[in-house]
Amino acid sequence: MKQLLKVSTADFKLIFRDPSLRIFLFLPALIFLVINIFLPYLISKFEGVNEYVSYVLIVATIENTQMFGFIYSMVLIEEKETEVARVYGVLPVSKMWFVLFRLIIPCLITALLTWAILLIQPFYSLAIMPSLVFSILSGLIVPVYVLGITVLSRNKMQGMIWIKIFNIAVVLPIVAFFVPDSFTHVFGILPSHWAFQGLSDIIDGGSFFVNAIIGFAYFLILLTVAVRKFSKIHFV
């Protein structure tokens, strides 16, 4: 526990001391502004925007995961590029434990911010507990995303490219809402699809149990694979 705090403190020092990372911490604030001020304003001007509000909200919560997704991908890629990662490889600590623990804080903060976005918005009054469960599910995007990108990238340049690709892949399942019903779950290969569908259930006031179960199962499998792969290559 104390170690977790030490490592997270160091991570946040790294983030705050790097202007290109620090700026990303404003992303949630921007999302809050869009949802609570810009979107209502837009609706007051253009009636037609109303029917898209739920989709904007869904995309907004998922975009919220991109803050720590980007920041931690960059921190870990830099750590690998500068070979600092190797130092962790010779410390008396289990590598898998270390990887998981290190990503708990960004995952938690993301989940809490997502929860806040869902509860503090002028459009729907969403059920509190289902919203929390959904927020935790979307928080899991962060470690999967970060580990996936770090495993695939040798350096920051490659990292930037993979971040773009992952960013599109995370948001793409929004298209599922605009295709004929029989094609909806084609987007299920992309894990964020199940989060999207789940949040849509919650907004409609229905049960999101099935989508949540599939989502959690999918994310946990991906997380397991990513952690294993990551611990094999990051510390060498």
């Binding site: 030490k6 020092k13 070979e83 190797r86 130092v87 010779v90 410390l91 008396p92 600590v93 289990s94």
Partner: protein, 283 residues
Amino acid sequence: MIKVNNLSFTYPRASSPVLQNLNFEISEGEIFGFLGPSGAGKSTTQKILYKILHNFTGEIHIKDKPLGQWGKEYFEQIGVGFELPNHYLKLTGKENLALFASFYNKNRLLKVTDLFEMVGLQDSIHKKVETYSKGMKMRLNFIRAIMNDPDILFFDEPTAGLDPVNGHKIKEYIVNLKNQGKTIFITTHDMTTADEICDRVAFIVDGKLRVTEAPSTLKFRHGENQVKVEAKGKQPAKFPLEHLGQNAGFLEFISTNELLRINTMEATLEEVFIQVTGKALKA
């Protein structure tokens, strides 16, 4: 302390092995050096010993226990000095060390401020590492490797890329560690370093070990057992070492001339290396 039998290793997806049947032992309190050209397999051997590379064949025992049976507590017992400086540049020297220190058992940890003082970095302890010179970063590498007061130390090219002053300091620290009873395994392609600080060296070329011996023994065995005497206005003269004190020619030479220099004709470690392996060190 460290016992290696028939160690072979092939990198995943590589076609041929990088290490072939290595055999060596390192005793407690010894400085042991791997000497060889670039790409010989020095770093690879160390990485296997500090458990970063797996799937080797052969047997490795550390403190009489097979390497595979050591868990994460192994890392309490060892220290690793990496080949290149690797620190968080945006953190200060102290923040870097304190972060990694938090993973070790508190009982054996050395005090961070003492460590900085020991290598003359006390004035830079609160400066970001990005402002450090290469020599300062390497000294930081060095104190990070020893901060948990380990029994076994691995140093990969500890003096590479350092100016003579910093290189000399690092060598002094390593010898100090040996005097404290630590077991030390260094790699180097620098003959002078090997010669100055290693109790024994092993030549490694293309993943194979050639000889393992004390540097002085090697130099003596591969040199001529003669002294070379130079005097003002004279051709240098050579005399056999054996019964030198009774050698009339030698005694006359040194008593009748103004001497400039007397040297034994032992080979340099570099010459021995070339003789033994047929290769030059600087590839």
